[in-house]
């Protein structure tokens, strides 16, 4: 047997590269990996497109005729709601995908490789973020085709874009965290149906909060999704609501909700990813 020198980690290629540069590089490589799956498994996009489209058709052409919102056409009232709902449902989408991905052997391979674990989880978030963004784009284009007519100034468009990006990032992190906490994609669907589905309806998503009964109204006034929907509606249609602080200041409320979600979910997700693991 030939002499085998005591190995040192310095022998690892790329070990000399600074940690932040490696983190960015590894995250980009792993994100690209996730994105390459989209055209190969296009059915994964169905979750983020079909569901909102069904809601659009249902509310626009079935329930819509019975709903009257003062000062705005129901079509223009509905689309901001659908966009907000899509964002919120992104939690379910990201959660289902993550709970599925985490059962794949390849994640174990990444974890046992000399790459930062933060980059693995960041890439998961980035991949899901892009998927949600693609889904949302399809929903918006579908809305425009059906005759949604947003009244957006350039300033408002930029503000809306920034807030939407922040919202998607926060909800994606939340979904990734939930996806790692639950044991299976089915369980994640269950959590989505029990928690997120009601929150999306107990908000100003489809009908004005003011007309709700006392109990749902109280919930809707403080439901984060109301702030989300209020933001989209306020910026794109100039329609404002009232009844609680967050409904009067939806943009600020939404930003605060998102920062709160990020502050809570990011450390928990990282901790969860490393739990029972060395290093």
């Amino acid at each position: 047997m030939s002499a085998i020198a005591a190995p040192t980690p310095a022998h690892v290629p790329g070990a000399g590269v600074a940690a932040p540069a490696r983190f960015v590089r590894d995250t980009a490589l792993l994100t690209a990996r996730s994105l390459r799956a989209i055209p190969r498994v296009p059915e994964r996009l169905l979750d983020v497109t079909i569901q909102p489209i069904v809601f659009i058709l249902l509310f626009l052409y079935v329930f819509g005729s019975a709903i009257h919102v003062p000062g705005v056409s129901y079509k223009d009232y509905l689309f901001p709601g659908i966009i907000g709902q899509s964002l919120a449902f992104g939690i379910i989408g990201a959660g289902v995908a993550t709970s599925h991905d985490m059962t794949e052997g390849v994640i174990d391979r990444f974890r046992s490789m000399p790459i930062s674990r933060l980059s693995i989880i960041s890439a998961q978030v980035m991949g899901q973020f892009c998927e949600q963004l693609l889904g949302l784009t399809i929903v918006v284009v579908f809305g425009l085709i059906l005759g949604w007519n947003p009244h957006l100034s350039v300033g408002h468009a930029v503000e809306l874009g920034a807030l939407m990006a922040l919202g998607m990032l926060a909800f994606t992190w939340m979904g990734v965290l939930l996806g790692m906490l639950v044991r299976s994609p089915d369980a994640m669907q269950g959590v989505g149906f029990i928690v997120i589905f009601p929150l999306a309806f107990l908000a100003g998503t489809f009908v004005p909060i003011a007309g709700m009964d006392a109990v749902p109204r109280a919930i809707a006034q403080w439901d984060p999704i109301s702030a989300l929907v209020g933001t989209v509606r306020g910026l794109s249609e100039g329609v404002h609501s009232s009844g609680s602080w967050q409904l009067v200041h939806p943009e600020l409320a939404m930003a605060l909700w998102c920062l709160l979600i990020v502050a809570v979910c990011v450390p928990l997700a990282l901790r969860r990813f490393n739990r029972t693991l060395a290093g």
């Binding site: 002499a3 690892v12 070990a15 590894d26 799956a37 190969r40 174990d108 391979r109 974890r111 693991l277």
Partner: protein, 332 residues
């Protein structure tokens, strides 16, 4: 010459709730050798290698890879160890080649260098034919080859193969074996887990037999086989009555063990084919109805029976949470 121990564990222990998966395991793999961890499902093999690969944290004891502690120096350990699991750790939506390029890039290679490394591995592991097929469309044997290749981007200090041939058909198993042999010839240090005595025998310098997380025997394959005994002749009786007859008949003349449930009497056959002829003649003379009389190699069950005095599958792993075939449960 600075020989350092490739893998060394002391009192390594892992519990899942009340269940102890690995109990006080002392394991040593010298650099340049091939050690096989042999045991039935649920013996703690996968849990052990997952601790070595820094995927699970030990509850007690310690483990070092090339002198680095798997908990305190996990980053160094990850640079030195490559783990190939019983479930191919590949991205199934990428092609074989894309997987190899990705792994090479994650190990610090530039785009062009990664492609070169991937193509070299494709040639070495005869992956060429299916290099552009998506991993999800590959057969089990093809996946294992790609998986092995992915573990060898940087020649690892220690390669850990977790049940590399479980679930493969005999032909694919031969291909994987010859791949592993060529690695061994190159001097790779290898820790191999397996359920097959035959596999440990074919590949390992040293075999550690484990059961319920504990080491029950260790030695060279030759030493173990001497203890286990040679091949056996199995006589499977046509029905219960015939089983009783054949059992009484053979017990008087040979060294036997038997299983009433399987209506099988097993006879030690140190002289192999000669013993087969003897047993067949005795059975035929007595006019006993049998389904089968056959010579077979000792199995893991025989080894356990011989070395521990009990059969291997006693361990009551009723809770699927502890089933090693679901490593994701403990990883999540």
């Amino acid at each position: 010459m600075s020989q350092i121990t490739a893998i060394e564990t002391e009192g390594l222990t892992k519990r899942f709730g009340a269940f102890t998966a690995v109990a006080d395991l002392d394991l040593r793999v010298d650099t340049g050798t091939v050690v096989s961890l042999l045991g039935p499902n649920g013996a703690g093999k996968t849990t052990t290698v997952r601790m070595l690969a820094t995927l699970l944290r030990p509850d007690a004891g310690c483990a070092r890879v090339a002198g680095y502690d798997v908990v305190r120096e996990a980053v160094q350990v990850r640079a030195l160890i490559a783990l190939t699991g019983q479930f191919a750790a590949l991205d199934k939506h990428l092609t074989a080649r894309e997987n190899l390029v990705l792994m090479a890039r994650l190990r610090g290679r530039g785009r062009r260098e990664a492609a070169r490394v991937a193509d070299r591995l494709i040639e070495r592991f005869s992956i060429g034919e299916f290099r552009n097929r998506l991993v999800k469309n590959l057969s089990g044997g093809e996946r294992r080859r790609v998986d092995l290749a992915a573990g060898l981007i940087d020649t690892p200090h220690v390669l850990v193969l977790d049940e590399p041939t479980t679930g493969l058909d005999p032909r694919s198993r031969q291909v994987v074996w010859s791949t592993i042999r060529s690695l061994v010839d190159d001097g790779v240090t290898l820790l191999l887990t397996t359920q097959y005595l035959e596999e440990a025998d074919a590949l390992a310098d040293r075999v550690v037999l484990i059961d319920r997380g504990r080491e029950v025997a260790a030695g060279t394959p030759a030493q173990l086989k001497t203890q286990v005994g040679a091949q056996r002749v199995d006589v499977i009786a046509a029905d219960g009555t015939e089983f009783t007859r054949v059992s009484e008949l053979l017990r008087g003349r040979f060294e036997t063990s038997e299983s009433a449930e399987q209506r099988t009497v097993s006879v030690a056959a140190p002289d192999e084919a000669e013993n087969l002829a003897e047993v067949a003649a005795v059975v035929a003379q007595a006019g006993i109805q049998v389904d089968e009389v056959a010579l077979r190699r000792p199995t893991l069950d025989d080894a356990f029976l011989a070395l521990t005095g009990h059969v291997a599958h006693e361990a009551p792993h009723t809770d699927s949470r502890f089933d090693e075939s679901e490593p994701t449960e403990v990883a999540a």
